[in-house]
């Protein structure tokens, strides 16, 4: 199942607060999130969540992603938060 992945304005703001190398990795994580996810049978507005951490220059970055998978037009939207 291929989804159209879209980011909300606040997700973009969260993304832009990250260093560039981590923005790239975060987008990769988002890309892989919906792989293998079946399309919900009915509209589902409950957000799902995923988090990951990256260590760089003795600093730990915690990335928390909320996302929602919609029925047609088969899109998944993301909300992102960051703590360092």
């Amino acid at each position: 199942m291929i989804y159209a992945l879209k980011l909300s304005d606040s997700a973009i703001a969260g993304l832009q607060s990250l260093p560039l190398w981590l923005q790239d990795e975060t987008l990769d994580q988002i890309d892989t999130l919906t792989m293998g996810v079946k399309r919900p049978r009915k509209p589902d507005i409950r957000p799902l969540a995923h988090d990951f951490t990256r260590e760089h220059d003795q600093e730990t970055h915690y990335i928390f992603i909320r996302y929602r998978i919609s029925t047609p037009p088969r899109q998944s939207t993301f909300e992102l938060s960051v703590a360092t």
């Binding site: 980011l7 304005d9 730990t60 909300e79 960051v82």
Partner: protein
């Protein structure tokens, strides 16, 4: 957390570093168990799917996470006070990561989430390809 006073008492006694480490490990274990219970409750509430109660239940649940985060911070502070970093106390690394993840989660407020949902419903969103293209341009500069 009531046990903080116990840790502080044990820590202040001379020559009791080993005892303080044992108490710290118990505090760490208790904090991780508390988090598991909150997550279990959170999952149960989400599964109930009562839309009218959603906002109130979500606010209460976020409150639980916030309270837990403050207490976990207290535990981690005490672990760090032992001087050898968090790695020397069983489970402290795990607690440190769980605390970071929870803080990241809490940095999205309930109002932000509702606003984001409104944006999504109104299709005020940007396709990921576009976001990636912008990022590539910035990286090239």
């Amino acid at each position: 957390m009531v046990a903080f006073a116990l840790f502080d008492f044990v820590r202040s006694s001379e020559g009791s570093l080993d005892q303080a480490r044992i108490v710290a490990a118990e505090l760490v274990r208790a904090a991780l168990t508390d988090l598991e219970q909150i997550q279990g409750l959170d999952a149960t509430l989400k599964a109930l799917e009562k839309p009218k109660a959603n906002r109130h239940a979500a606010a209460l649940t976020l409150g639980l996470y916030e309270e837990w985060s403050r207490e976990a911070e207290g535990v981690l502070e005490r672990v760090k006070r032992l001087g050898d970093g968090v790695a020397t106390i069983d489970g402290a690394d795990e607690l440190n990561r769980a605390h970071g993840r929870t803080r990241a989660m809490l940095s999205i407020s309930l109002d932000d989430l509702i606003a984001a949902n409104d944006d999504i419903d109104a299709d005020r969103t940007v396709p990921i390809e576009e976001v990636r293209r912008d990022l590539r341009l910035k990286t090239k500069r």
